[in-house]
Symmetry: C2
Subunit: 420 residues, 2 copies
């Protein structure tokens, strides 16, 4: 295209929004092109980078698809299908904390539950205090809703325990409207104790804040019992819980999440956003209902499997020279510190330049889970979403890769991989 | 609760956001409590108020549910499942306008496609010019994204034809970023001619605007051929088309929509929002694919059925004294003007105080489809989402109800129904 033509063309092209331009891409996704190229070159990539489990969805739930006997896939209630909400209420009353039917809405994944909460609780420019590292997509949700995340940094040195109450209080400004937790934690695999949660509870009561807690990994706690913030007294008006069937029932693609709160005013506000999108996916809700109906055995077995993987992974990582590790208490993630200066470069190198018996490994660079740019540079998140045999191969790749990478890192300029 | 207790309680209660409080509720939904009470009193309510058709979803598509043979309902691509996008591309190339595979994203309903477009095209406070009356939920979408809708009012006197180009140009300010059309029109049942679309095309080119067109009723055009804005030349960078399987395949609850644009920069921006919510519902996409695969006969039959209803409804409405009517060209809606001062009060009265042989009628008050408060007060939208036998009963109720309501309206104060 000639210069004059291009100028004319650009002049007549409507521009995308500034907020759209500034919207960050998921740091996990930025490595996808490298994985694609590796696969095109015939290399098998072991994906420990994403929270997509290899565990099968409950067969009994999948079976109900063949008995779906509605002639019309109609709009349902904006709050979610009544029979599913009853099933979820029963589950909460039995396993989490007693709630009422009206305290639950079904959402299109936990993602939508988070967005509804942000729009309903916060005006533009208001602030949320959140421990980092945290699930990277929270950045996108807060950007979409114009809310600012104010991080309180936790450290690998104590397994990413909750930072002291003072560190939260220090960050409170006139714009602070909530504390946001992910418990059990993604990417940390941490689980907050009752004492830690009570310290946060005291702050939200003192400063009239919302307490928003993403509890989607609730069912995978290995060493200590899970406590939901819903079970803490005096927080009825403060707590919003985010939930989902994606991880617990390995049904990520159904896009069924939940939002739970006893705050009637908030639920009334959220309902307006829910009505706007008409209803959550109806067939996904049909499957979700079947998942809850036969949950007990399934969840126990899945948890046992994840626990096996956790123990194996911990053992292997603990033996690799220079790797900093702690025992994750919950979920299916470990955030480890590798003996490299820039873990993102190492992740790219694994995909671009390394293989062992035709296989390589994809990990999630840790820096994407921090807002503070100085943290997480040497860390990676490992999701144990593959079985022990695959994990064994993956750890062999990691162990050998790290050895080989030592000489590479010495010779490369810091900008080597800045192209992405 | 004592006053002192209440004050203490309120002091310690975090407040919902201002934007959440200001978020409007769908005007259609505000009548739901009245319909519920009518049903509780044993009255059958004929629902002509919503766009939920009684037509069955293609049986061949529903049948594919029993052959869904994935063991895991996994996350899919954020852009949508490849095989579905290919099917949709083929449909577009054959029936709408030649597009490329990358010009299509699958979304969670047309609702999500609209939201993604608003966030990606507009910054806070920017403006969209839109002919009114329009689909009421556009107000909620624009409120969520902080975009202002600037209406250009069309009139029932010419069947809601597109207002003259000058009326659009007059409204253009420095903040104007797009023109938004719904074609075929909800709530009007209007269809814009090629000349009308070309007049708009000239404006968007002249002023570098986006042209966003909701074409979800595309397949239901009865008297003249449909022209998509995608088929107009020179608009490659300007046009965004919103689409959905909800209406054409009577699968509203599947929550599968589409966003189509040839603007690469825009699609790149939208992808970031799409990645944030991970993927559209996977089983809904599975059904959507099956819908497109066997579309021809199904769509023809459904269109014939709607056309029968349209002709019947027009005939009946034309015979009711004082009702202003035009022949809708497309979709399955008619916006009529009733011989009442306040159509909303009449709609409530139908639900609250009227019945004929144990039945009554629910209509959508017209004022909710206008931004200008002075318009639409005597209008209602009638959706022909029930068959001719039900429409016959509905029109009997409307005809007799209007006669009986004359004396009611004379005696009531204007505030009678202001409680909602």
């Amino acid at each position: 295209m000639s210069l004059s033509l291009r100028i004319k063309f650009e002049r007549h092209m409507p521009k995308v929004s500034k907020r759209g331009e500034e919207m960050t891409q998921s740091p996990i996704r930025s490595l996808i092109p490298f994985a694609r190229t590796a696969k095109e070159n015939g290399i098998e990539v072991l994906h420990l980078n994403i929270g997509q489990p290899d565990i099968t969805t409950p067969q009994s739930a999948l079976n109900t698809l063949s008995t779906y006997n509605n002639d019309i896939i109609e709009y349902g209630s904006s709050e979610g299908v009544e029979s599913l909400r009853k099933e979820v209420k029963e589950y909460y009353c039995e396993h989490v904390s007693p709630i009422e039917f009206n305290d639950i809405y079904v959402t299109t994944g936990a993602s939508e539950a988070i967005l509804f909460t942000l729009f309903s609780c916060f005006d533009q420019g208001e602030e949320i205090i959140i421990p980092e590292p945290f699930y990277a997509n929270y950045i996108g949700f807060s950007h979409t809703s114009g809310v600012h995340l104010v991080p309180v940094t936790s450290t690998i040195d104590n397994g990413f325990s909750l930072p002291k109450a003072e560190s939260f209080v220090e960050k409170i400004s006139k714009k602070t409207k909530a504390i946001f937790l992910c418990n059990p934690g993604n990417p940390t695999g941490n689980l907050y104790s009752l004492e830690e949660l009570e310290a946060i509870a005291a702050i939200v009561k003192e400063y009239d804040l919302f307490l928003i807690v993403d509890e989607v990994y609730r069912e995978f706690c290995y060493d200590q019992e899970f406590r939901s913030v819903l079970s803490l007294s005096g927080l009825e008006q403060h707590v919003v819980v985010i939930d989902s069937i994606s991880k617990v029932f390995s049904a990520c693609g159904a896009r069924i999440g939940f939002l739970v709160s006893r705050n009637e005013q908030l639920m009334g506000t959220i309902l307006k956003y829910a009505q706007l999108r008409l209803c959550p996916p109806m067939i996904g809700q049909h499957i979700a209902e079947a998942c809850f109906a036969n949950r007990a055995t399934y969840i126990r077995q899945v948890k046992e499997e994840y626990n096996k993987r956790r123990l194996y992974l911990y053992d292997r990582l603990a033996k690799i020279e220079g790797v900093k590790i702690y025992m994750p208490k919950a979920a299916f993630y470990i955030m480890t510190e590798l003996p490299v200066e820039n873990a993102k470069n190492f992740c790219i190198w694994l995909l671009q330049s390394y293989q062992k018996d035709g296989q390589t490994l994809m990990l999630a660079p840790g820096e994407g889970f921090y807002l503070n740019e100085k943290y997480g540079k040497s860390q990676v998140r490992i999701a144990f979403v593959l079985g022990v045999p695959e994990l064994e191969r993956a750890m062999n790749i990691l162990e050998n890769g790290l050895k080989e990478y030592k000489s590479v890192e010495l010779n490369q300029t810091p900008q080597s991989y800045s192209c992405i």
